[in-house]
Subunit: 342 residues, 2 copies
DNA sequence: TTGAAAGCGCTAACAG
DNA sequence: CTGTTAGCGCTTTCAA
């Protein structure tokens, strides 16, 4: 294991370490010739600067950190390459950082900002509580959040991009209503989920209320268990519980496509047909949905565009250009093959 | 932004920095009482040690790094939680590190081992060339590779766990042959793919040869473009090219489930039925396959078990216990609804 | 344009 | 058991 340091390079080039440092960091105040000599030597030796030492000194690195909570969620999948492309294309280096399910992403961000001192942070998923906002202020690093609940943030140097989950959810339910469905069951996430899942449930309630349909709490399913509601399995298991209750409904609104996929599988196994017996709808617009049979009626979020915009807004914040604090995308009602008139 | 250092803590506790260091690092030679006082103060101040400074000094951290190449590949998805669980359960900290498609994972590993000095590395995906092996030797850090081509490695402190792609591929083709299919088209990856894709193609050839069926190069599709062969889209587009050639075949072997999913979608759009018109098979056993309609006949790799084993082998290497250099799992021939007798 | 030297925050000898 | 001290490899004043 080679352990070449900046001193080795300096010695080999008969210059001081500071000159080598200037060479690697593209400092202006260095002779082009010495610079080239040093750079050649560096390549020759296969030297790479130790990033710990660098980060220890530097007050800022050239990195954009992407913090993702819920790496298992297929929804984020298409974002990776967009983020990576956009970030590197703009001269930053890209760091994808996974936040464990039980960890608080704010704490992680705090730690990260102390350690690697990124130029900016993009949060994917997770959930910001009100009290978190103050802490975020402390970060002092520009950040933007996507696919996250907190829409109106008073924090400086930050923005939020995404769809309006509440409104889009209403859109979905209104579509079901327009098909003649009046009794719509909904499969949500944790009952105490203060995050996106709850916004969608609230949108559902609101849509019903606005249409003078009373809300039947029995038709609202939220789990108490600490399950991941963005999995096929969750939908697969949950639909059984719902069916066992022998309730009367004609449509099933799953707050994520993943849930819907699980639900449809189970229905198929039971010989229950969609949309004949039940209309089933999802939310998100996962890539896989285009390849399913039947395709699921859902709200398609413009994931790639959201990722792209998240980057651009962040770049604007970083470079002091004007930016919109909240960028709201419209979801597209994708009518698949799992819905029909009542 | 708070910038509390170990000195601040030391001052606040009226001890020296080394004592604080001992406290955070769980050193034995420290008084339990002072330790507790320090720890309490640390929590109170919200102090977190700067990992750059730590890593700079330390010759080794307590981290297991997981290097993944191809984070877009659904195949790896179920591994994340297993790896995370297993690694943290065993007292290590878990670092997921994404290797960019164009980067060489060995270089990344080298850099990583210099920077964060992990106790061990797990490689997911990617491809090791013969020349890489020497470089790996230099890492000097225990590592295990999964879902990677290189099966017989002479490198010390390393192991390989996975299925035998060549044999499993033969198994798949033999199954198709047993159904009476003689003309089997195969959709592979890049023609110069020295990785898993090629092993599977080779298995296909071998199975045919062993059954005295001559290999028709026209039926072997490999792309020259730099596409990701583990995407739905690749299958979706590729099947058109294949069909346009008006070749005679009764079965389509896709070297990944993702390809098969894309293929089936396109066939459906064209009104071509599987298995009636073509039997279609995949490889991998993606989780989503259980939820598809029809389910795809495939080779199921025991992903979770592979991930688990990768961890355990790595732990054994680290702690100097005996271990198997090559752990080969058997794939399960999963007969789905996309295959039928010729 | 370059070099000398002072740390960044921490760990780990080495003394006490 | 605890404190003093010397760096880890690098960046960055400050002088030359």
């Amino acid at each position: 294991m080679s352990k070449i340091t900046i001193r080795d390079v300096a010695k080999q080039c008969n210059v001081s370490v500071s000159t080598v440092s200037r060479a690697i960091n593209n400092h202006p105040e260095i002779n082009q010739r010495t610079r080239n000599i040093i750079l050649k030597k560096i390549k020759e030796l296969g030297y790479t600067p130790n990033s710990n030492a660098r980060n220890l000194k530097r007050l800022e690195t050239n990195t954009i950190a992407v913090l993702i909570k819920g790496i298992g969620n297929l929804f984020f999948q298409p974002m990776f390459k967009v983020l990576e492309n956009e970030i590197t294309k703009n001269g930053y280096s890209f760091l994808l950082y996974k936040v464990e399910e039980q960890d608080n992403e704010i704490d992680v961000a705090l730690k990260l900002s102390q350690d690697i001192k990124p130029k900016g942070i993009i949060f994917l998923g997770g959930c910001f509580m009100d009290e978190d906002k103050k802490i975020l202020e402390e970060i002092g690093i520009p950040f933007v959040v996507t696919a996250i609940v907190s829409k109106n943030m008073s924090i400086k140097n930050s923005a939020c991009v995404g769809v309006d989950d509440f409104l889009e959810s209403k859109k979905m339910v209104n579509y079901l209503l327009s098909l003649g469905h009046k009794k719509i069951a909904i499969i949500g996430s944790r009952y105490d989920d203060a995050s996106i899942g709850m916004l969608r449930v609230n949108g559902y309630k609101q849509a019903l209320t606005e249409n003078n349909i009373s809300i039947d709490e029995n038709l609202i399913f939220t789990t108490t268990k600490n399950e991941d509601p963005y999995t096929f399995e969750y939908g697969y298991k949950t639909i059984d519980i719902l069916l066992d209750k022998k309730l009367d409904f004609s449509a099933i609104y799953c707050v994520s496509d993943a849930i819907a996929i699980g639900v449809l599988k189970r229905l198929r196994e039971k010989g229950i047909k969609s949309p004949r017996d039940y209309s089933v709808v999802g939310f998100d617009g996962l890539e896989i949905n285009d390849y399913l049979n039947p395709t699921i009626t859902t709200i398609k979020q413009p994931v790639e565009n959201m990722a792209l915009t998240a980057c651009n807004v962040l770049f604007n914040i970083i470079s002091g250009k004007p930016y919109k604090k909240v960028v709201t995308f419209e979801g597209e009602l994708f009518v698949g093959q799992t819905t029909d008139k009542r």
